[in-house]
């Protein structure tokens, strides 16, 4: 018997006399309590709680803010489809991991923001770049629109397409492996700036 058929047979045997289980209760799904400015304020507070920075600005101010946040950065990679021009920005051009390692920063857009947990989710479509782009460089500037911010994890899961790869980002890379003391920055970007556009 193949391992597959063997395992499936063992599973069937194991549960053959198990009772049926009721449909899982979904009463944790409540209407979000926060909206509008309160929602955005919570998003900002919780992202900053991870020691990321958040800048709120208007659409027109984005280029200036990008320039400010990237001031002094030598090399920045810009994914295809990123809607703003970034002075000196380089296109992806299928850079190898080693080439990306020589790049200092990346700018991306994002798909969803979660206020309750201070999370931004990238689903790596146009403007967000393939996964390696927002991973290898040490500084990540992530642009999100106010109308992409949702209250909680339930809403975010409902909006995302599972067939696209996703990276849920809550603050910069961090570890607590040494005496439980939190250190920002192990392998992912050590600095995360979020631009919240209204």
């Amino acid at each position: 018997m193949s391992a597959r058929d063997d395992i499936l047979a063992r599973v069937r045997e194991a549960v053959s006399d198990a009772p049926e289980v009721a449909e899982p209760p979904r009463d944790y799904r409540r209407a979000p309590e926060l909206a509008g400015e309160d929602l955005l304020a919570q998003f900002v507070e919780r992202v900053e709680d991870y020691r990321a920075t958040v800048t709120r600005c208007t659409e027109a101010e984005v280029p200036r803010e990008l320039e400010r946040l990237l001031d002094g950065v030598l090399r920045v990679v810009v994914p295809d489809g990123f809607p703003w021009s970034v002075p000196g920005g380089e296109p992806d051009n299928a850079k190898s991991a080693a080439e990306l390692n020589d790049v200092d920063a990346v700018v991306t857009t994002s798909s969803v923001g979660i206020a309750e947990t201070g999370t931004v989710v990238l689903s790596h479509g146009p403007g967000q770049g393939r996964r390696a782009l927002s991973l290898v460089p040490d500084l990540h500037v992530c642009v999100i629109h106010a109308d992409q911010v949702v209250a909680g994890v339930n809403e975010a899961v409902g909006m995302l397409d599972p067939l696209q790869p996703q990276t849920w980002i809550s603050g910069p890379s961090a570890t607590s492996d040494i005496e439980l003391s939190r250190v920002e920055g192990v392998h992912g970007p050590r600095t995360l700036h979020v631009l919240l556009v209204e």
């Binding site: 391992a3 597959r4 063997d6 395992i7 499936l8 063992r10 599973v11 045997e13 194991a14 549960v15 198990a18 009772p19 049926e20 289980v21 009721a22 449909e23 899982p24 209760p25 009463d27 944790y28 409540r30 919780r46 709680d49 991991a97 979660i114 309750e116 947990t117 201070g118 999370t119 790596h124 393939r130 996964r131 390696a132 991973l135 290898v136 994890v153 339930n154 899961v157 409902g158 599972p162 067939l163 696209q164 790869p165 996703q166 990276t167 849920w168 980002i169 809550s170 910069p172 890379s173 961090a174 607590s176 492996d177 040494i178 005496e179 439980l180 192990v186 392998h187 992912g188 970007p189």
Partner: protein, 496 residues
Amino acid sequence: MSATFVGMPAFPEAARRALENTQQRHNLAHATGTIRDKRAAVVAEVDDWEALRLAGAAIKDQTLRHLDDHLVALEAALQERGATVHWARDAEEACRIVADVARAHDVDEVVKVKSMATQEIGLNEALEAEGISAWETDLAELIVQLGDDLPSHILVPAIHRNRSEIREIFRSAMGEVGRPAPDPLSDDPADLAGAARLHLREKFLRARMAVSGANFAVAETGTLVVVESEGNGRMCLTLPEVLVSVVGIEKVVPTWQDLEVFLQLLPRSSTGERMNPYTSTWTGAVPGDGPQEVHVVLLDNGRTRALADEMGRQALRCIRCSACLNVCPVYERTGGHAYGSVYPGPIGAILNPLLKGTGVDEQTDSLPYASSLCGACFEACPVRIDIPSVLVELRGQVVDAHRGGVPKPEAVAMRGAGWVLSSSARTARSERAAAFAGRLLNRLPGGRRQGDRRVLGSIPMPGAGSAWSQARDVPVPATESFRDWWSRTDGGEDES
């Protein structure tokens, strides 16, 4: 890199030795206390926490009841998205599959995302035997691997090490396997993390193959999920050409929507954060993004045995958050090594016997007794696994397995314990178990000085257990420390 749990002494013996390691006890008490407080704070923020726990438990129960259907669906979804699906009955089969993939690509090293399943099957050792180096990339796993040590906690495997020990490990071992630690190197955690970043970056950029586990596998879509903090997971899941994920068959959830429950329960229960820094999801091979060759190994290795246990099957709901370890008074004092398994603490005390069976080896049989039945683990568990009830059931199974047989000499430590129950009727089992737990516990707590005689104190216990547990002090037998035993015997391999 030959440390192994094979040959570990049974729990009472290992625990007694561990208790004499004052440094480890201190590190552990500090660490578990810190995570406990963080967890409590972020759980209190969520007003529908109980509803989420109930949903999490019910989703897992329902999935397990129809696990065959979900596995077949998962396989089909993965194949449709370009992944190759393998099935492994046991550890040996799983290790061989991974090694075969490595050999097909002619690689002599792989980078690894922290994964309980690959530790369970001893993958690193199996690959090493084939001449393939497996580099752990999680900081704590790196500390354990470089120190030729064993993990002692599910989430923070190097929880038993402090900063100066870690600095020494980095200074002496990094250079032997790659980029040496910077010199000078302080014991500041930021400096130590920086050293790990440099050491591992070289390996990430070079590696052509990665091995991961998965926290969840979505049957309807074929999506795998890895939850992590440092970004080492993202490096492994993204940069190499080939990715092999070893996934226990109990990791399946039916739908994408189900993740909304677990992505709330898991981070708050494990690291005590609202959300962990990074969660990666991917569905098969993604054209132009990440590994173009994706393998998934669906692993049994005792899970179907556990699934057949009417009381014990709930242990397969476990999402490996480690909350039960952090609240356990026994774990806090003995540490993880005493459990002799990659799954320590309360979940290890039930999962190991369920996966391996009772009556097979002394060490596994001792684990259901490694508890005071205080119930703190059940309270903390995000998927409501009733660990105390499963422990009591397993104690009965251990007794039944030994009934009629003559206990081996190694069982001496357990003699005043499990085997006196050998005439047990199941009805009376729990009372006797509780009484035994009291006797065992009186041997456990850590040493304080009373005059010149070193004594064991009593264990602080919430609720009904406290009366007996504060009954008396007993002298600590003088013997070599757990760690000394460990290095002398190469993890028990050379024990004579």
